[in-house]
Amino acid sequence: MSSILTHSPALVMALPLLAAFLTPVVGRFNRKILGWFISVILGLTLGITILMAIQILTNGSMIYVFGGSEAGLTLPSGYTVPIRIIFHIDAMGIFMGLITAVVSFLAAIYSLSFMQKESGLEKYYALLLLLATGMFGMEFTGDIFNFFVFLEIASISSVALIAFRSTLSGEPAEAGYKYMVVSSISALMVLFAVGLFYGQYDVLNMATIASVMQFTQLDKIALILLVTVLSMKAGSVPMHMWTPDAYSEAPAAITMVLVAASQASLYALFRVSFSLYNISLNTVTIGWIIIILGVLSMFIGVTMAIIQKDIKRLMAYHAISQTGYMLLGVGVGLAVLANPVALDSFGIKAMEGSIFHIMNHAMYKGLLFLTAGALFYRTGTRDLNKMGGLANNMFYTTIFFIIGAAAIAGIPPFNGFASKLIIYESVYKFNPLLSIIAMLVSILTLASFVKVFHSAFLGPKLEQYKKVQEVPKSMLFAMATLACIIVLFGLFPDVIVKNLVHPAVMALINQTNYTATILGGI
């Protein structure tokens, strides 16, 4: 048991990779068990991730040296610089890892019946596994070049999955093209930043760079490059054009995983600004830049969403506006990082709210996209004007939609409310105007989802949807688990915040602890 735990970072990465390599071979023999084989593998990965989470939350962050003579030996004898690739998983990394594991497992279950009629299934499942591996790699790695490689794996597999349905019509190919251009530029700029760090400090490990950095002119350029490029990948406003196309053209289960993938780049943005640079740079300006990005994302996301008529594009714009909440919370935390008094009074609270919001957003946005997929699965259309009166014959999907819509709008018993409340309180202390804007956006979100609920579910039973019946069990199971998680987090938010979110925030804030685990306190 303990040997599985020490090697768990490698297993979490290697298991889905091995399965992905075997999928084309397994798929050729018999297609039926393929879906189940993938779901079992992702279930195992989820299990290992939960094991790691318990281990990390009990006794500190976990290190794994790839190819080293011993899992924990980071520095070769007599050298102050690590020479191998080191996985450095702290509370924040495993927090994101849990989201990725849950979301990819449920996507595999959901696609068991959702993708039944599609051809080329083994390619779809292999790409889903590779997307999950890419996201795990981005969240767990402690090495910036390794982060670039896994960012590239996640981008290419999500492009291939977005363009998966391009055999039928041209739009998925165009959405895939747009996303490919965006992720190529961002990956190459990350590579340029890696070159800047390597050129000056001849080291690739993030903790070592953080301890050795002298904030020269080049480091500021690398910071600006990384912040712009990673917020572009996370879908914040000035560069959000790819999000609506990518989210609406991808199959529903993949859109859910894509939401978690853009949150992985958001995590990378936090990792760069907190663990790599921390108090050294004037955090006020960077904090305010992220706050402005957040407020813009919130506002433009929701105003664009109200005028949409395609259900998935509407939800995609809401995803942008919800990313704005996360940016707002962490921006406030970053802005006050320098003065400890403000940090303790509301800075940590704001960051807790926004990081908790990342988990909640992944859950209820995933549920909403799955319900949209269920509607598409039965009615074959995503256009709200054509839908109507589906509540009578798709009972469970309606219930799940109500839970998801209530959670996104921040209605009390659900998890959206819990994290938004923390953000409102703490941001109000920092600057009342920001939290008023946040509340206004939340009301607009509620308004647009009431419109969706009315046009898709209520109203008379339309004749062409007479024979529509409920979606198959595997899709219902995926949606039901998400709904339970949402309700569970909504009822006991403080349990989750105390022993899952708070350690994550602490892991982000104190950089000395981050560097000490690798360099042994040098």
Binding site: E171, F192, Y198
Partner: protein, 115 residues
């Protein structure tokens, strides 16, 4: 000034790549722009690893008494070149699919997803 000529070449290459990316309308030209940026980034990585008057870091029949070049950038550039191949192959095949479905690869006509 002479010391950082290679980096100026990198800046020009990346600038050209970004220029083609922003101003060109043809999908294939945008793919070429991305390859330009990619070669600029690779050139930047490789030029970081040079040591004046040093030899390739291979011990088989190496010349006597010579210092060796930094090996890590070569490993990093090898990885990023293969990634470049993969991204370019994928972008070009998506452009082919778009041409197959829309009959044109000019971004103005392809813009179906307007709103």
């Amino acid at each position: 000034m002479i010391g950082n000529f290679p980096y100026i070449a990198v800046a020009i290459l990346i600038g050209l790549g970004v220029y083609t990316l922003i101003f060109k309308k043809n999908l294939i030209k945008i793919a070429i722009g991305i390859t330009l940026i990619e070669s600029g980034a690779n050139l930047f990585l490789i030029t970081l690893g040079y040591r004046k008057g040093a030899v390739a870091p291979i011990y088989t029949q190496a010349p006597e008494g010579m210092t060796m070049v930094l090996p890590t950038p070569q490993a990093l550039t090898l990885t990023s070149i293969v990634i470049g191949v993969a991204t370019t192959a994928l972008i070009l095949s998506i452009a082919m699919i778009i041409y197959k479905k829309y009959g044109t690869i000019n971004t103005d006509e392809v813009r179906r997803l307007k709103e």
